[in-house]
Amino acid sequence: MEHQVIVSGIGGQGIQLLCKSLALAATRQGRYAMLAADYGGEMRGGPSQASVVIGDQPLRSLPILPSAGAAILMHHRFGAFAVERLRPDGLLVLNSSIVQPDAANYPGRVISVPVTALAQELGAIQAAGFVMLGAYTQITGIVSAEAIELAMRELLPPYRQQHAETNARAIGLGVRTARELAEVAS
């Protein structure tokens, strides 16, 4: 079974880097990955969406997914495409700092993580995407947090390397938060 996730938000939230890190982490572990991105010309504020598919065999999923097993909502604006395509037995992880859980109107499993607020606590609101990615990997186990961190470091261009440590802390914070949420839930 191929792991499919659609990630939706607005430009500036780190959607694209989140998805690239996830796809690259899977590739570095020898798995097949596909990253299909869709974003507007605007740098910030416009629609930003991407999907990632991961599998152990050459992939059969389409670059524009007709349905998906998981979705991440970083912002409610432009989020309809992702939620509409999420299968009823799927998983929705949402950024509850911005998205109201019932606003998504999804009947299946929903996990709320206030990633923007958590990133603000770290003093790096731009790292919200990595808090989310840390949480998502903890929830799904699709790749390890270590693999994500390595991929993130590989993807940062030289002129952005100063953010690597903050991003790494953001990933760790996401993992811990998701673990605590799971403990509370059980």
């Binding site: 796809a23 020898g30 389409l62 524009i64």
Partner: protein
């Protein structure tokens, strides 16, 4: 086995071209082709090659012609809008027999006629491969460099924004397609001073001391060559067409989506199949005829107003069974497909067309 790399189609095509011996590239940026020019400019110098950002598409294609005539494995590209400007040079390359790979990293499927009919002058055709996904884009790129040299002709890779921009795990390995003819025609200066210097010339007049075949002989030979290519190089894929009541014809990325829909319909008991031309020219007509022999409906899905439709009409077993379910669909940016490229929409169009004739109800 080569290592799995996560590459977008432009980067994958670059690596495949280098593996196929490409050492010269010239082009002018235009989305979504720009990614290919960027990755060529980054990678070719590392591989001992040259990449030039030309001042226009016309300059780029003619640089590739010159480099190929001098013996380099050469390529150029653009999207359909820029390749429109290259038509004269493409016709010249076909008629003076210069092997160049032309990448059409198109914005949609509206360049089918441009690729398969061409807009230059003279009796020429261009072999055109249309990959369905990035792994196939890699294989096609490598094969096109071989085909160009095998037939001494310009050849076209018809890509699109989905192929250009989607990142996929691929392995790039050298491929051997068999022996190539001698390159004793290249203008490498080795005949200098011997009285046996060479010409690459569309009119093929030769020299007073060593006359060529001239335009009549040259262009007859070219026409015969393309007749032979038309017979030898047809390629297609038939998927679940035996006993299919509905055969859907689609190429490139669109065919990938159609195949997904057909799998879904089959699981619901609807007897659908896919016919995919892999070479757009030469069009695999006889194979299409065979694949549609038992079909009650032949649906044509392409993201344009109906271009491949002409070829399907020419070859389908029963012309009256043909219905067009594609259309023009462009993203608001103008740079990629609109909402018609979606498995959900395709599925509905197939069901609607089927309901019309009672094949699906």
């Amino acid at each position: 086995m080569a290592e799995l790399q996560l590459l977008d189609g432009c980067t994958a095509a670059t690596e495949a071209a280098i593996a196929a011996g490409c050492r010269f590239f010239a082009g002018y940026p235009m989305s979504p082709f720009t990614g290919l020019l960027e990755s060529m400019s980054r990678r070719l110098p590392q591989a001992g090659g040259i990449c030039i950002n030309a001042e226009s598409e016309i300059e780029g294609v003619n640089m590739a012609l010159g480099a190929a005539a001098a013996g380099a494995r050469a390529a150029t590209g653009s999207c359909g809008q820029g390749i429109a400007l290259m038509q004269e040079a493409i016709a010249e390359m076909a008629l003076n027999e210069t092997p160049v790979v032309v990448f059409n990293m198109a914005r949609n499927q509206q360049d089918y006629f441009q690729c398969t009919r061409g807009g230059g002058w003279g009796d020429y055709r261009t072999i055109t491969l249309a990959p369905k996904d990035v792994p196939e884009l890699v294989e096609h790129t490598q094969r096109l460099f071989w085909l160009a040299e095998r037939y001494r002709a310009p050849v076209i890779l018809y890509g699109d924004p989905i192929l250009a921009q989607t990142q996929v795990g691929v392995r790039i390995e050298p491929r051997d397609y068999g022996p190539l003819p001698s390159r004793d025609w290249i203008l490498d200066g080795s005949g200098g001073g011997t009285g046996k210097s060479r010409q690459v010339w569309t009119w093929a007049m030769g020299k007073v001391t060593n006359p060529g075949p001239g335009p009549d002989g040259q262009w007859r030979a070219i026409a015969e060559k393309f007749d032979a290519v038309a017979q030898a190089e047809q390629q297609s894929e038939s998927y679940l067409v035996d006993e299919a009541e509905i055969v859907i014809v689609a190429f490139g990325t669109a065919a990938l989506f159609v195949t997904h829909v057909v799998d879904e319909l089959r699981s619901e008991g609807i007897r659908a199949g896919v016919f995919r031309p892999i070479t757009l020219w030469p069009f695999p007509g006889p194979a299409l005829r065979e694949a549609t022999r038992n079909a009650r409906m032949v649906l044509v899905y392409e993201l344009n107003a109906g271009q491949m439709l002409d070829d399907v009409r020419q070859w389908a077993y029963d012309r009256d069974a043909i219905r067009f379910i594609g259309g023009v669909s462009i993203h608001t940016s103008g740079l990629t497909y609109g909402p018609l490229l979606d498995a959900r929409v395709i599925r509905q169009r197939v069901l609607d067309a089927g309901a019309e004739t009672g094949v699906t109800t």
